[in-house]
């Protein structure tokens, strides 16, 4: 019943994506006002790319600053061609960008995009009330082994191997020219939504490992065993407890699962 509309929209979309069927589509355009069909269609094709490029520039300002206008323009155009939007809102268009960069020719920029996407996700993640830091103190010591933890939806854990946090901070706080991207010692980052907005904090590797395990759903005892392989059986519980205290004090934990929750 809508065959004609379907065919027309397919042709129009092909034109927006690639422009390769322009001559064929031109024959579908009504003549009026002595304005050539090519000028009419160009408005739509240009707007398509400009709108998506602007959305990426808006959501990845550090990536834009680090890459520079020319490189950002080329990589965003390639990304747009390779990843047509599958979301009703432009807010979600850049979701695939960090992974696309990691797997492609622009891998050096992937960590920048990953950090910026984590920040964006933190900005409008679901609202959950963190547990009070004291809640942990009320759990009897013999129950700790079986405790699990729900993290606030805004929390992301990232490992980076270049000065991404420095670049992000310069751009975020409008502190002038962004430094060049350079390799650094591996840094472990927590991204979350603090009271004043998205925040990024570097933490010790051992604490990061503990948080990663807990966030992945491991019980406290399992997390200690895993940490013991990286540190020692003596150090592991203290490190895990320190990580947990940091998480609770920072508002990253929204629910403590007791052993009885497992059923």
């Amino acid at each position: 019943m809508t065959d004609n509309m379907h065919r027309l929209q397919s042709e129009f979309q092909t034109f927006l994506f690639s422009g390769r069927n322009e001559q064929e589509l031109q024959t579908r355009i009504a003549e009026s006002n002595d304005i050539p069909a090519t000028a009419r269609l160009a408005v739509y094709r240009n707007a398509y790319y400009i709108r998506l490029q602007e959305a990426l520039a808006h959501d990845f300002p550090t990536l834009l600053a680090v890459a520079g206008d020319a490189r950002f323009g080329k990589l965003s155009a390639r990304f747009i061609r390779a990843n047509p939007s599958r979301h009703p809102s432009l807010r979600d268009f850049g979701r695939a960008l960090p992974g696309w960069l990691r797997e492609g020719e622009e891998g050096d920029l992937a960590e920048v995009a990953a950090l910026e996407w984590a920040v964006l996700e933190a900005f409008d993640a679901a609202d959950h009330t963190p547990v009070a830091a004291e809640a942990l103190a009320q759990v009897p010591p013999e129950e700790w082994e079986y405790l699990g933890f729900d993290f606030h939806p805004s929390v992301s854990l990232l490992k980076v191997s270049c000065n991404v946090r420095e670049c992000w901070s310069v751009v975020r706080n409008d502190k002038g020219a962004v430094p060049a991207l350079r390799d650094t010692e591996e840094e472990r980052l927590v991204v979350w939504r603090a009271a004043c907005g998205p925040a990024v904090q570097a933490i010790e590797p051992a604490l990061f490992s503990a948080l990663l395990g807990l966030k992945d759903g491991r019980r406290f005892g399992e997390c200690c065993l895993q940490l013991a392989e990286q540190t020692s059986a003596e150090q592991a519980p203290a490190i895990a407890a320190q990580a947990l205290a940091l998480a609770c004090n920072s508002g990253w934990i929204t629910h403590i699962q007791h052993d009885t929750d497992q059923t």
Binding site: A30, S32, A39, V43, P88, S89, D124, A126, P153
Partner: protein
């Protein structure tokens, strides 16, 4: 006289105005917001939304409903819109008479439809589905266009009227879009109004456009142009009092400048009603 809810003069709620709007400090009668901008899980956008909704009537205006598309309507999108409707109890819910998605891909633009009987029937049926989901009438907006299709059998205004009648929905008449499309396609903007079923018009959009010879482009980044003001005057002679708002999406000036433009709209409306 046609019953219209939430008459008065509003602005599009845009990020530079979020804090002032949330504090109730902006002297407007209502705000229109872009529905998709608030289809998020939480955080500051929803805090702003709730605060603004406490202080002003809101209209929800969508850009991705894809009423004219041939992809199935996005049920998840409609449920998220419905949740937003429940959350803010808007005075109006609107989207565009166009297509925005095909083959699962969103184009993020308001793309033109052929003005055919096939399209009237197809779009009207989809509006019916949306209205059933939302349990309310929606408004459909005429879009600016830069191309029309040779297969069209009626003109744009007749198409808009036919869809609204067939779907039994309301109309959001964008006066700037009429001016832009009239220029681009060489039709008479005043004649356009003659086709409009005025009792279905529940809201008016005003906006600025860019002159990019030989075309006008609907950019929402300039003050409202004189031909748009003039057509607004003529529209109000037909319509009487209609909720009117200004869309400004780019090159956003200080709020006082937009409020001055809104005052102009208010004065035009008062003069039209007094005449």
């Amino acid at each position: 006289m046609t019953q219209r809810v939430g008459t008065g003069f509003g602005l599009g709620l845009r990020p530079p105005f979020y804090q002032a709007a949330a504090a109730g400090e902006i002297p407007v009668d209502w705000f229109e917001l872009i529905s998709e901008n608030f289809m998020v899980a939480g955080g500051n956008p929803l805090r702003i939304l709730d605060a603004v909704a406490e202080r002003y009537p809101l209209a929800l205006h969508g850009v991705s409903m894809n009423l004219g598309g041939t992809d199935p309507l996005d049920k998840d999108y409609l449920q998220r819109l419905k949740a937003l409707v429940v959350r803010v109890n808007p005075v109006r819910v609107s989207d565009h008479l166009c297509w925005t998605r095909h083959g699962g891909h969103h184009l993020h633009d308001l793309l033109p439809l052929p003005y055919t009987e096939e399209a009237v029937s197809h779009v009207a049926q989809r509006i019916g589905i949306v209205q059933d989901v939302l349990q309310r009438r929606i408004l459909i907006e005429n879009v600016s266009s830069y191309a029309e299709f040779s297969q069209s059998s009626i003109n744009e205004s007749a198409f808009l009227a036919a869809v609204a009648e067939a779907a039994d929905c309301h109309i959001l008449l964008d006066v700037n879009n009429i001016v832009v499309s009239a220029h681009n396609h060489g039709f008479n903007a005043e004649a356009y109004l003659q086709d409009i079923p005025f009792d279905r018009v529940q809201q008016i959009h005003l906006a600025g456009h860019t002159v990019n010879e030989p075309l006008l482009i609907d950019t929402h980044d300039h003050p409202i142009a004189d031909p748009v003001w003039e057509l607004y005057r003529q529209t109000l002679h037909h319509l009487g009092a209609v909720p009117t708002m200004i869309e400004r999406d780019d090159n956003i000036p200080p709020l006082t400048e937009l409020l001055t433009e809104l005052d102009e709209a208010r004065q035009i409306s008062q003069r039209a009603l007094a005449a």
